[in-house]
């Protein structure tokens, strides 16, 4: 075995042992659990070299070594092969997710499933508006001068807005006007993403009588409002109690992590740039752009409906985690959710 090669085998062994035991691993302990065919002294030399390269470190002089962020990074990139989930596991995932009755339920089940499969904090983004496609726009006459716009998307998500109108919408003339607007707006919007719709909506009022234009504009405006309201991008969490278990592994304690997890805007940003499964993104420790998460790693991926990505999901856990297993779980769950949403 080449020396270089063995050094990496040592790193792999250190990562695996440390993840299992949560204790710094020394040269002797390592040899007991991994048959490397060399002596402890050789392993020590390799360790010194790995430390030189910044891949492992020692909490103090006479302790074993633990991987650094860079060490985990190398492990993830080159030393681990994904272990596919077992058939029963896959079956359990499918069965659990198939039980969902609506979109809320899908999201809810997904996040709980992820948390319990990985024993980490799970994060799932609601299907994002701006990437969704309009299925139907409904106008509901609520009172003399009020109407509600209901926006139905291909993900099953529903958004509503209440509008005030100048004119009285009661009676046949009102119904007739609403009906015309409804028809026109749907003609323009259905089948298009919300971002595409914006332009087409601007031309719409011209087709109406001057007295009616304000109402048409209001409907269009509220539709556009639904687009830019990124506030509506919601995330759901589960498994925060798993952080308590990991306590020791998180340097400054759970406080900063819990704080970061409450910043949904932050999470959305981190989930914003994801690829479709089987691609999963891994952010390790300080690679993470947010200080509160510097002691944690994130594993994220996207999910979609049809060919389009509509949201992200992933997990947050201590840097000391089972990367291959967790990556496989995240990937599998995202794949099944995508399949369900495509139906």
């Amino acid at each position: 075995m080449m020396a270089e090669e063995r050094r990496l085998a040592v790193l792999r062994a250190i990562v695996q042992d440390f993840v299992r035991t949560n204790e710094p691993v020394g040269s002797r302990a390592l040899l007991e659990r991994h048959a490397l065919g060399v002596s402890a002294a050789t392993v020590r030399n390799d360790m010194a070299a790995l430390e030189e390269e910044g891949l492992i470190g020692a909490p103090h002089t006479s302790a074993g070594r633990i991987p650094t962020d860079a060490g985990y990074r190398l492990f993830v990139d080159r030393l681990s092969e994904v272990k596919p989930l077992s058939a029963p596991e896959r079956a359990a995932i499918r069965e659990f997710l198939n039980g969902a009755v609506d979109l809320d339920d899908v999201v809810d089940r997904t996040v709980r499933l992820l948390a319990s499969l990985t024993h980490q904090v799970a994060v799932v983004q609601y299907p994002s508006l701006s990437r969704s496609v309009v299925r139907h726009v409904e106008l509901v006459h609520l009172g003399a001068h009020r109407l509600m716009m209901v926006l139905i998307l291909n993900t099953g998500r529903v958004e509503q807005r209440v509008l005030e109108a100048e004119q009285d919408l009661g009676g046949d003339p009102g119904e007739e006007l609403l009906s015309r607007i409804r028809t026109d707006v749907n003609a323009v919007a259905v089948g298009h993403s919300l971002t595409e719709v914006t332009a087409s909506l601007d031309a719409l009022p011209d087709r109406y009588a001057p007295g009616e234009r304000d109402l048409v504009r209001a409907v269009g405006a509220s539709l556009e409002e639904a687009i830019i309201e990124e506030r509506e991008e919601r995330v759901v969490l589960a498994g925060t109690a798993n952080l308590a278990r990991a306590e020791g592994g998180l340097g400054p304690g759970v406080g900063p992590v819990l704080e970061a997890l409450e910043q949904h805007v932050v999470l959305l940003k981190l989930l914003g740039s994801v690829g479709a499964p089987p691609t999963v993104a891994v952010r390790i420790g300080r690679e993470n752009p947010y200080a509160g998460l510097h002691a944690t790693s994130m594993i994220t991926t996207g999910y979609g409906s049809g060919g389009d990505l509509v949201g992200g999901m992933g997990i947050v856990g201590p840097t000391r985690m089972d990367y291959p297993g967790t990556m496989a779980a995240v990937r599998a769950v995202a794949a099944y959710v995508s399949r369900i949403l495509s139906e």
Copy 2:
């Protein structure tokens, strides 16, 4: 001053000091901060009596005393007067909540506000379906054999269900049928709570032609489904990071508490029996029916729209908390939210 009276004054002083300092309070330290007009020895006698009654305890022999659950209970019931919030505080609450644009935003702002006012974990229940009143039912024709029922409630909440139909709903005959069902269902349901609606719906299919009854029944069934689906009762949390601060105060650590907070069913149950503000309910330590929350106290109240209660809100924190201040904050927030929802 009567002896009995003074004993309670001592208890009050112990609670206040312990809440402030998080350290067991001894007879000397207590006299330094509270002018009781008696000597340390007398205070010691009182403390012995209070301990006899189970109102305070000592972590170990030569330490000061800390209140027991029963001690806090007595404090809350008889020894504390609510301190109303300051005018600026009230103004800040109002201003912050008035900025909300829709129901989701109201709930979101409420829970964050509660968390930051009290420095505890805030819990807000979404306006509950079964207590809400139907404002409108809309049937939307989605495809040849599919339609969507949209249910709009007086709280602004919207529920939707997708239905499959036997007959082809396209074209004029389909539209006409949908229109008749829509009219009838609204006539029966609007203005009534969902629980009241159930009975009236059962009689509805008889008015229709045999071939149409299945569809009417399906619409009715999906409405009723929305009623019994208590799964849909959602709660929102904020401020879980505050638990990390309280760390020491929570005996077994934050783990069990985080776990309990993830059991939304549990939280819903605890929020289920609340009174309208200014009534606030306080559950202290082991008074709490769920073991995971035995080291915490909950302060809860209800909020409503018009005269009706539609949901609960409150906070969860360590038993060692500022009860008067927190109760005042919960009360004030619930009152403002109720006012906003009534508009």
